[in-house]
């Protein structure tokens, strides 16, 4: 353990906070928890939890990078980096063929484009409008009384007959969805339509930046197979997954930990 190179990435997002350890070039323990109104404390808690899970002490950790919305509040980090770079570089490291990274977060969606050398060449974010983010799905799921975790399952159930939702704005879609439920439109069709609507918005962002394969999806919403399915239809590509089935929600933290490792090694300290 003493000769291990351990680095940490702490991703304080607006909805969830994540911490991950990168140990000798492999993913170590990680945690995902809700963000709070006290990001400093949350950062510390995540970090301490993840070290504990690894059976380590803080002194074993060589370098720490903070990222995410609350990155400036990760007081104990050595440096911080934008979540855009964290997702981008993290994804590239884990999947060297990745060129387009779609991060569908709780509150915003980002698309990152890497050039042939793996360097970030462009990015675009949608952070003003909920339609096209995780929040949109949460909102609708709640209004029809289902758990966000069940969306993928519902999407896959029954036949594939997505209903086309006409409202663009999440404020209006709620009543549209409730009307559909009352009209006894099958729930799976509604969910399929919902995923289609989000995928359309995300695809528009991707088009803005230009799609180059391979495409990966990161962020919590990437775990929703129904949405990923719709995204694949819209983009007419197969989305690649990360090897070892790494949870896409922790890509920000993992990316930060990898960047920490790269930075540490570059500095040449032992």
């Amino acid at each position: 353990m003493n000769s291990s190179l351990v680095t940490a990435g702490i991703d304080i997002g607006s909805t969830t906070s994540k911490a991950a350890l990168w140990i000798d070039g492999l993913l170590g323990p990680y945690v995902i928890g809700p963000s709070t109104t006290n990001p400093r404390a949350t950062a510390r808690e995540c970090y301490e939890k993840v070290i504990e899970m690894a059976g380590l002490q803080a002194t074993d950790v060589a370098y720490i990078f903070g990222t995410g919305y609350g990155r400036a509040k990760v007081a104990f980090a050595d440096e911080n980096i934008s979540e855009i770079s964290a997702h981008g570089r993290g994804a590239r490291f884990l999947l060297p063929s990745a060129r387009t990274i779609i991060d569908i977060g709780g509150q915003d969606t980002k698309v990152i484009s890497l050039d042939a050398n793996g360097e970030m060449i462009d990015f675009v974010t949608n952070d003003k409008c909920a339609a096209g983010t995780g929040r949109f799905l949460d909102f609708i799921a709640r209004s029809v009384g289902i758990d966000v975790k069940d969306l993928a399952g519902l999407h896959a159930s029954g036949s594939y007959q997505p209903v086309t939702l006409s409202s663009m704005c999440s404020v209006f879609i709620e009543s549209e969805v409730i009307n559909l439920v009352n009209d006894e439109v099958p729930l799976n069709s509604i969910i399929q339509g919902l995923h289609q609507a989000v995928a359309t918005r995300v695809a528009a962002l991707v088009k803005r930046i230009g799609l180059v394969q391979d495409v990966v999806v990161t962020g919590g919403v990437a775990k929703n197979a129904g949405l990923v399915d719709e995204l694949e239809r819209k983009l007419a590509v197969k989305v690649k997954t990360f090897p070892g089935d790494i949870d896409p929600q922790i890509l920000g933290a993992v990316g930060a930990a990898i960047i920490a490792m790269q930075k540490y090694l570059k500095q040449g300290t032992t």
Binding site: Y69, I81, S82, I121
Partner: protein
Amino acid sequence: MGNKDVMDIFRNVITQPGNAYLDEWVASGKKVVGYYCSYIPEEIFSAAGLLPYRLRGAGSVDSSDGDAYMSARVCTFVRHTISLALRGELDFLDGVVLAQNCDHIRRAADIFKKKIKLPFYSFLSIPRIPKERLFDWYLEELKRLKAEVEAHYKVTVSGERLEEAIALHNATRQRVSSLYELRKKQAPPVTGEEALTITVAAHLMPRDTYNMLMDELLAGLATAGGVTKYRARVIITGGELDNPEYIAGIEQQGALSVAEAVCFGQRSFGGPVEDGAGDPLERIARHRFFQAPCARMVECFDEQIIALKDTMKEFQADGIIFQRMKFCDPWAGDGHNLYWRMRKEGIPFLGLEREYGVAASGQVGTRVQAFLEMIGK
């Protein structure tokens, strides 16, 4: 007075709609006339003994008065300026000279005319295409403005008075140029936030006083230290920007603004109005009409690109940060076109959207930081 004292004065002058200099001017019986745009020459006001005051929304915490008249679907800059006017916070104004800069300002003009009803109101029709074939019309419009000013204020805007005004405003241009020259250094003596504070202040106070303060400032800056801690040098461009706090939010990430190619920034000044034998009003008209064009103008995009690239080179900038007020159509067009041109030419370019008076948010910070990371700085 040291440069820090002058900066404090400028900071004070720009926080609220009014300031002590305006109060003094008005108390001495003189008049203040408001305007929105660089295509309206300040020299005409100065030559008539009027103080040109460039309209902005600083000090407006809430745009609801403007919203009531203009809805929430138009530019927040305009809504805030109208809110101030409707609330009586621009009562030091004796008049306004407006133009069809854009649809939002055009409607603001209607509100000025019908609701705010200042003693003096004039409206110019400024051509959209800054080419010789339309210059005569622009000059005629300025002559008409001059005549209206003379009739209303019972003054003669003679050739001599125009020459004096040219000299006065050239003196400001020269000082702002000097300031910008200093920013070409590796360690510029001012940040973008400070520079915008300085250039905004010029529009809100008597020019001779401003010029004197600038002299003190420049003297101080000549020997002051510079900004060394930054990750990259950027040019800020795009639509109207008179909130230095917005630039501060960008600079906090390490992107040092070395030139603000925006209204209230460099665009408001340009080089000097030519000396010479020609009619002063015509020289002023040429100076304005053929200035570096903004998004409102058409058939001149190449000139805009060249100006931007020249600025980048002169100031050794690493990239361009473009900002646009939400709902702004002219800058939406230019924003789109700039993005693709810059991409083609490999010039790092970041596009931001904003609302007036809102400090650069965490979201802007993230984008700027990512931009810097992307360009390897």
